[in-house]
């Protein structure tokens, strides 16, 4: 099985440690992972801000880059949801939308390529639990952790308890429930810039809920949401660290996760 890492532009640029953690973790589980150098961005920012043409261009590029792999793993619920939910819509032409149900897209079309590639794209916890069939990944992380199930992981991908099942198997880790976990943190991509007052108010409530747990670490499957909550945690000197799910799952007793902290 040829497995590709879709790092996502945010992780690539701002959180390379998350990408290194995914590589460490997957190799530990006996899965060799490739990094297609031609990848860039899934196009989520463009599409969700109202620039579908640019988004469609990036979607085409994504499909070109990843079509040849058996599985594509993304350490981001949001970007995986973008591919799964929005690519079929971007590929749907007005004519195709009016076509009778049951008929697939014409072979060789962008819609056909999307239909072929999209089912192979997995968020990290989906890949671990559903494809590799593991929940104990051999991790050790002796800390008190709370988990925020980001909106696109929760309601877009329906990851359900996959991430927490993985965390529960981590030795030494104490998982504490987050009050109001299913509520949005207020990031919403460019929403944070377009509606800063509401975004900040939502984040303040999320941060309040995080601090009441007494956790040392706030974990999520999305660095963009963590960047938002973490930025507020740091500004408020709340004393809670943010960590991507992959970084916790990559950690071990021997600390040979040097690639993570790099």
């Amino acid at each position: 099985m040829r497995v590709a890492l879709f790092i996502t532009c945010v992780n690539d640029t701002l959180f390379p440690g998350t990408g290194r953690a995914v590589v460490t973790l997957l190799r530990r589980l006996g899965c060799d992972v490739e990094f297609p150098r031609a990848q860039t961005c899934c196009g989520q920012m463009h599409v969700n801000t109202g620039y579908p043409e640019e988004g469609r261009r990036l979607a085409r590029h994504f499909v070109d880059v990843f079509a040849e792999y058996d599985a594509v793993v993304a350490p981001s619920g949001s970007c995986a949801a973008m591919v799964r939910e929005q690519y079929p819509r971007l590929a749907r032409t007005p004519a195709a939308a009016g076509a009778p149900a049951g008929e697939g897209p014409p072979p060789g079309s962008f819609a056909a390529e999307v239909a072929e590639t999209v089912p192979k794209v997995y968020e990290l916890s989906e890949f671990l639990v559903d494809v590799l069939g593991v929940t104990d990944v051999g991790a050790y992380f002796p800390h008190r952790v709370t988990y925020h199930p980001t909106c696109h992981s929760l309601r877009g991908l329906h990851l359900e308890d996959r991430p927490t099942r993985l965390l529960e198997q981590v030795r030494g880790l104490e998982l504490v429930p987050l009050p109001g976990a299913d509520e949005c943190c207020g990031f919403g991509g460019t929403f944070a810039l377009k509606n800063p007052a509401i975004s900040a108010a939502m984040c303040a409530d999320k941060v309040h809920n995080v601090t009441t747990t007494g956790a040392e670490v706030l974990c999520a499957a999305d660095n963009s949401c963590l960047m938002h909550i973490g930025g507020t945690l740091v500004r408020q000197r709340a004393g809670v660290r943010i960590m991507h799910l992959a970084e916790i799952l990559a950690a071990t007793e021997s600390g040979d996760d040097r690639t993570v902290r790099g």
Binding site: G98, A99, P100, A101
Partner: protein, 206 residues
Amino acid sequence: MTAAGSRELILSRIRSAVAGAGEVEITRAYRTSPDPVRATGLVELLAERVADYRAVVHVVDEGEAVATIAAALARRGATRLVVPEGLPPEWVPGEPVTDDPPLSAAELDGVDGVVTGCAVAIAETGTIVLDAGPGQGRRALTLVPDYHLCVVRAGQIVAGVPEAVGRLDPSRPLTWISGPSATSDIELNRVEGVHGPRALEVVVIR
């Protein structure tokens, strides 16, 4: 009074708006017949669900109905009662007020309450449906008085909404009643009692 052409304008806009759109089939996979577990306990379920709305409920045998109604009216202190045509006369003691000739709204406002039967009752939702038939009267009778006592017979109870819809005749004016008048307009908390009858008492005959 429609401006010439508005009807045709709207219809033609609709025509061009949906031109070429695919037909939509309707899948009805929801429950339409009684749940076998519940079918045996419809009376109890109805009583429980009506009571959830803070209505007063009595479940009685046929022979106890008259005494139960009399006791309820006495407790309420209701002596001037409206009865619709077709209500079993023994249900209301004394000399009830009839709607013949039709009572004015002000007259209805002056009585102590109204006693009726019903057309259908829905166990799952605790709902009573009146269809202005015998023993129920026109809609104002059960609206203006502040107290409504409704008698439900076991045979009138269905399990869920789909069966009730199937039993009812849409050409008749229907009133579906689920508990006393209520509002959730203040801080989204339910408070019983605004414009309709503030007290609903239901006698279910097994």
